[in-house]
């Protein structure tokens, strides 16, 4: 792998600092106002290995910290998945939510919830596995159906298939909810998407997934770059198209599956962040993928902050916030593209 093609060290440092600053801001704010001085003291104490105590410490360390630490990898994962999907399908509108992959993952998780699949120390294990599997199946179904209808996999076809698939899974989810009886509450709450009650197990799971799947994607950065020319062209350059596609789709399924089972359906992240990163850093996947990780984390940090403070103490489902901002950005992006493309 040619390291020179990636982000420069300077850019890495700037982005890391940006992430840390965002992290600090999002930890300091919440439905209970904590004086900045206290926040700094507590964080400082934590870094020094002491165990800060007191009400503010309880809130910061046990409620806010696990939450923001979960939010960051989810943002990074969804953005990475979106960037990779856009690269491999060569469609700027491809991401977990538009292709129905998140809905599929959600369906998997709901099935797991309604069957009551859980382990005592790791309650989400059942939902995670189901979500990943269903995520993969959804991707395959949507892509195969689109290919069968339209070999060129144009925008319209893919998005249409994705939307129809999402509707299909939604009605399935409603069906399951109608028959789930006692479990209805947990399913209903889960479908709204929320990172409240996050714990450090979730963070660990997310980080491991991010590292493994993220590395798989980055190792295929060259292949993703080649794909932008077209599959045949990529093959002629020497890319093993089938193997690359499989690795990327599996990695994407893992990223989306785990993110959805931890945080519920959060749409549009995989669209806004990669496009923003392309504007800032260019479309070269060596630069695009790492930047998606940083920017994705920052983006979702602030989305979550809005979700939990805008109408405090009521918590908006984070999917609502991202959809709102995402839909508006989506329209702007699409409008700009159509204008430039002149179609």
């Amino acid at each position: 792998m040619d390291i020179k093609e990636g982000l420069s060290l300077k850019k890495h440092i700037i982005l890391i600092i940006a992430v840390l600053i965002s992290l600090f801001i999002c930890i300091s704010l919440g439905s209970v106002s904590i004086p900045i001085k206290e926040t700094i003291n507590i964080i400082w104490g934590l870094l020094l290995g002491k165990e800060p105590y007191g009400m503010y410490a309880d809130i910061l360390i046990h409620v806010r910290l696990p939450r923001v630490l979960s939010v960051m990898p989810v943002g990074a994962a969804l953005s990475l998945a979106g960037a990779a999907m856009q690269g491999i399908i060569r469609n700027p509108l491809a991401d977990g939510s538009t292709l129905g992959t998140s809905s599929g993952a959600a369906l998997g998780a709901v099935i797991a919830l309604s069957l009551g699949v859980w382990l005592p120390s790791f309650p989400v294990a059942g939902t995670v596995v189901f979500a990943i599997v269903f995520s993969f199946i959804s991707l395959i179904i949507v892509l195969s159906l689109s290919y069968a209808v339209d070999k060129l996999l144009s925008n319209n076809t893919i998005i249409l298939m994705g939307v129809i698939f999402s509707m299909f899974t939604s009605s399935f989810i409603s069906l399951i909810m109608a028959f789930s009886g006692e479990r209805l509450r947990s399913i209903t709450f889960w479908t709204m998407g929320s990172l409240a009650g996050s714990n450090f197990n979730n963070v660990l799971l997310l980080l491991i997934t991010l590292i493994i799947a993220g590395s798989a994607l980055m190792l295929n950065a060259r292949e993703l770059n080649a794909f932008s020319l077209g599959e045949d062209e990529a093959m002629h350059i020497g890319v093993d198209v089938k193997k690359t596609k499989l690795i990327i789709l599996v990695s994407v399924s893992f990223l989306i599956g785990v993110s959805v089972s931890v945080g519920g359906s959060i749409g549009f992240v995989g669209l806004i962040v990669p496009h923003t990163c392309r504007l800032l850093f260019g479309g070269n996947h060596f630069k695009l993928l790492p930047s998606c990780v940083y920017v994705g984390a920052i983006f979702l940090l602030f989305m979550d902050l809005i979700a939990r403070t805008l109408v405090s103490p009521v918590e908006l489902p984070i999917g609502v916030v991202t959809s709102f901002i995402g839909a508006i950005s989506f329209v702007i992006i699409y409008y700009r593209r159509r204008k430039h493309a002149g179609t």
């Binding site: 209970v32 105590y53 009400m55 309880d58 809130i59 046990h62 409620v63 806010r64 409240a196 009650g197």
Partner: protein, 302 residues
């Protein structure tokens, strides 16, 4: 001849008065005036609280249809269940040939009540938001089925029951309380001012930490930790798998230093008796009283 006609007229007059004497004029909680020609004999009750009131009045045999959530006393389960609220199936209701429907604000829509009126079935809307409202509901239901005496007795018993507890509390103040109506895994909701739990809490010398909020309000973990209540009450139901509601609350990360958790003052109230506007509020307040003042005193003495 004149005497006879006079007697006849008197008799007729008495008959008329006698006939009208059975007529019952009622005004329900929405101000609707309902007239029943005689005490109701075939009643459909949509909400569990009103069901319990009906049985407590000894009129349970008049029940021919019940809302799906009515489950107390046990006999009510053998009565046919009807859907209420927006899902109300009018045909199902009319088919049962009731002569009275007892609904609450939540259990009916304007359209369904109008449709019932047109079908000639009178309905009473009950909306008891506090204990006084429950007494009014008892009177209304009692009048509707000709059980006025029983209603008055039930109200007296309840008033005496509450007074007994308040006297036992004797002006003591236990501290602050946080009523949790929806646990963390489903999104945290608390009961604020104006709910039955709040009223009962006040009678027991407890101050609701969310008193300034409405009866059902969403809250965040941070706020509960910041409010640091002395007592936590949850009315979550336990289905047998996983930790009990109390265990779950006690194990929440970041909550360990809340006074209620440190002292073990976490109480699992029976949701049916403490949230329904019915006679079991007396059971609820007594159970809660025992938890606070009897068991705790025993624990501390031990």
């Amino acid at each position: 001849m004149r005497k006879r006609t006079l007697l006849l007229v008197l008799l007729l007059a008495m008959l008329c008065i006698g006939a009208n004497a059975e007529e019952i004029k009622l005004t329900d909680f929405e101000g609707r005036e309902v007239t029943l020609s005689k005490p109701a004999e075939r009643i459909i009750v949509l909400m569990p609280g009103d069901c319990e009131i009906l049985y407590a009045l000894g009129a349970g045999d008049k029940l021919i249809g019940r809302g799906e959530y009515c489950n107390y006393p046990e006999e009510v389960l053998s009565v046919e269940a009807v859907k209420s609220g927006a899902e109300m199936n009018l045909e199902q209701v009319i088919e049962l040939k009731p002569d009275l429907i007892i609904a609450t604000k939540m259990a009916h829509t304007k359209e369904s009540i109008e449709a019932l009126d047109k079908a000639g079935i009178p309905s009473l809307v009950i909306d008891a938001q506090n204990i006084e409202g429950v007494y009014k509901a008892i009177n209304l239901i009692g009048a509707a089925c000709g059980k006025n005496e029983e209603a008055a007795k039930l109200i007296d018993d309840m008033k005496a029951g509450f007074k007994e507890v308040v006297d036992k509390v004797d002006g003591r103040s236990y501290g602050t309380v946080y009523f949790e109506v929806s646990p963390l895994q489903y999104g945290l909701w608390a009961s604020g001012g104006g709910s039955f739990m709040d009223e009962i809490g006040n009678m027991l010398g407890l101050e609701n930490v969310f008193a300034s909020e409405g009866a059902w309000t969403q809250v965040s973990e941070e706020q509960v930790i910041a409010k640091n209540p002395d007592v936590i009450v949850t009315n979550a139901m336990y289905f047998g798998d996983g930790p009990t509601p109390i265990e779950e609350i006690m194990s929440r990360k970041g909550w360990e230093n809340i006074k209620a958790i440190e002292n073990g003052d976490v109480y699992n109230a029976d949701t049916d008796s403490i949230t329904r506007p019915g006679p079991r509020l007396i059971d609820a307040i007594n159970d809660f009283y025992n938890f606070l003042y009897e068991e705790e005193a025993a624990d501390k003495a031990a």
